[in-house]
Symmetry: C2
Subunit: 323 residues, 2 copies
């Protein structure tokens, strides 16, 4: 217990190693991790959480490097949490590092971490939120969540951000299609990176036309399109301005609290459900009727969804106890 | 109803458009999709489901193209289901196609589809299994599941495979680290692709040494390491042989049924849990005490995990009804 208290204290003082250790506890679903989050939770809420999403190759990591540099120049502390397996930030995952991140790794004001494990209770999205909370409690001013933006887990992750930036590149028509089709929600800011490409202005026009089709209430946030060349630090100042403007906007209108309330609500729900699943799992392990039901599924006489309906019916009838 | 019957019939006859339509229904969580799976489920179980996983850049898509060609030469029908957002197979997702897949797209014996939506009830993993079942029912002999192998959703997806192939490339040391650390389960077959690279034999030795550390019961499956150069069709015949050998092995020992039983069990569980979550969501929407609890979370006085404990306690006490 003494160790945990001191871990919390060190974390709140911004100790990098304490933060790393805390995230590992959460990622491994170690009860001490959850105790720790409970303890430091009152000290969270101060960080600006920025979600950055885009296809592999859009230059997310380079952009995050540039943003980190800009935020450091403003004397803000930065944490990067990468959930994109194709990102060079994602150490310990399947990829080697293609970009030299050494500068940032040596800076005590920058903390970089990836989440790739199935790890924590309730899944990647829950573990990510807990990690972001720990970064927040450690006094980081900015938390950057990097995700590839496709797939359920990744979309759930981006929901934890206060501001969402979508990164596109000229010629990458599929992202535009995804926006048009409504597969992807309209982000708060759109970056067209690699803006030295001759197709840049065509891309900007296309994005503008997609945005003009989306419903827009008068006086509400108008999604800016920022052209950047991240590897040359071009456009980064304007991006920072737009990020800050968006934050000021949602704070003024009470939308920041609204977003956070919505995200925390689904967080509580997800955590509750995953505990119910664990209990159900345990209850069914020794349940003979379920074994017989499962045998029918294995023999292709009953499909999994119909079997689920039957289990649910037994729960409703009080015929199967999971508490 | 008449339309649904004929969709099922057309699907069972192997009609490509019917299969595409059916998967869309499942992906959109359309009740007709679930009815359809129920109807065709007795006709499933015949396909060999192969999971292919590896980091972006390992050459998964090229390898799948080569395997598809080889299977077509054996007059087997093939379906590819890609859950890797960085894959060129993943149409409609965020990436353009880097590889020309036109040959396969035009072959009536090959069906290619991606899953990127959060879509279906219970999430990506459930939608993927349903899609794989539909491909199976449509008479596909081989179903290839392509995943990037990092992240919870992707690992859940690979669990649906009968045989799992991990694709490595020379010099890609992080995958080896992931295996060593036990982050990644030992696959059934390991491919070292791009085997014209000078580091190939070093990689093979390293893989062998990691495998030698894993517990291995005498007489059980010994994970083969296959060197391939997928873009030149080199090593593909040997890979096909090993895939078939693994399948024969697990069939003989009853392991295939065992795997499928385990996967179908977690499928039933996942489907049950996601329905419980929906009900919980609905019940909490009009619950005043939950609103007060949530307010505490928003005000940083109570952390999300403790709030979840409280909700669970109310369910146990019969104080909150979700049926």
């Amino acid at each position: 217990m003494a160790t945990e208290t001191s871990l919390a204290e060190r974390l709140l003082q911004g100790d990098k190693r304490a933060l790393a250790r805390a995230i590992t506890l959460v990622e491994n679903d170690d009860p001490r991790g959850w105790d720790l989050v409970r303890e430091v939770y009152p000290h969270t809420g101060g960080a600006a959480v920025l979600g950055l999403t885009g296809a592999p190759g859009a230059g997310k990591s380079t952009l995050i490097s540039a943003l980190t540099k800009a935020r450091r120049a403003q004397e803000r502390d930065v944490a990067v949490l990468s959930i994109d397996p194709s990102s060079p930030f994602t150490k310990g995952a399947l990829l080697g590092d293609r970009i030299r991140l050494t500068d940032h790794f040596l800076d005590p004001g920058v903390f970089i971490r990836s989440m790739a494990n199935r790890g924590a209770l309730g899944g990647l999205s829950e573990a990510t939120l807990q990690a972001a909370l720990l970064m927040d409690a450690a006094g980081k001013d900015d938390v950057f969540l990097e995700t590839v933006g496709v797939g359920q887990a990744e979309i759930d992750v981006i929901d934890h951000a206060d501001t969402v930036v979508l990164i596109l590149i000229p010629g990458g028509g599929d992202s535009i299609q995804a926006l048009k089709a409504g597969v992807m929600e309209i982000p708060d800011i759109i970056v067209v990176n690699k803006a030295d490409h001759p197709m840049t202005d065509t891309m900007v026009r296309e994005v503008r036309s997609v945005l003009s089709l989306a419903p827009h209430e008068k006086g509400t946030w108008r999604v800016p399109i920022v052209k950047t060349q991240a590897y040359r630090d071009i456009g980064i100042d304007e991006l920072i301005e737009q990020i800050d403007a968006h934050r000021a906007y949602i704070q003024e209108r009470g939308e920041l609290e609204e977003r956070r309330r919505r995200n925390l609500r689904s967080e509580v729900l997800a955590l509750t459900t995953s505990r119910i699943r664990r209990r159900l799992d345990a209850a069914l392990a020794s349940d003979e009727r379920f074994q017989a039901l499962l045998q029918q599924v294995v023999e292709r006489r009953l499909d999994p969804a119909s079997a689920a309906t039957e289990v649910l019916g037994r729960l409703d009838a009080g015929d199967l106890a999971i508490d």
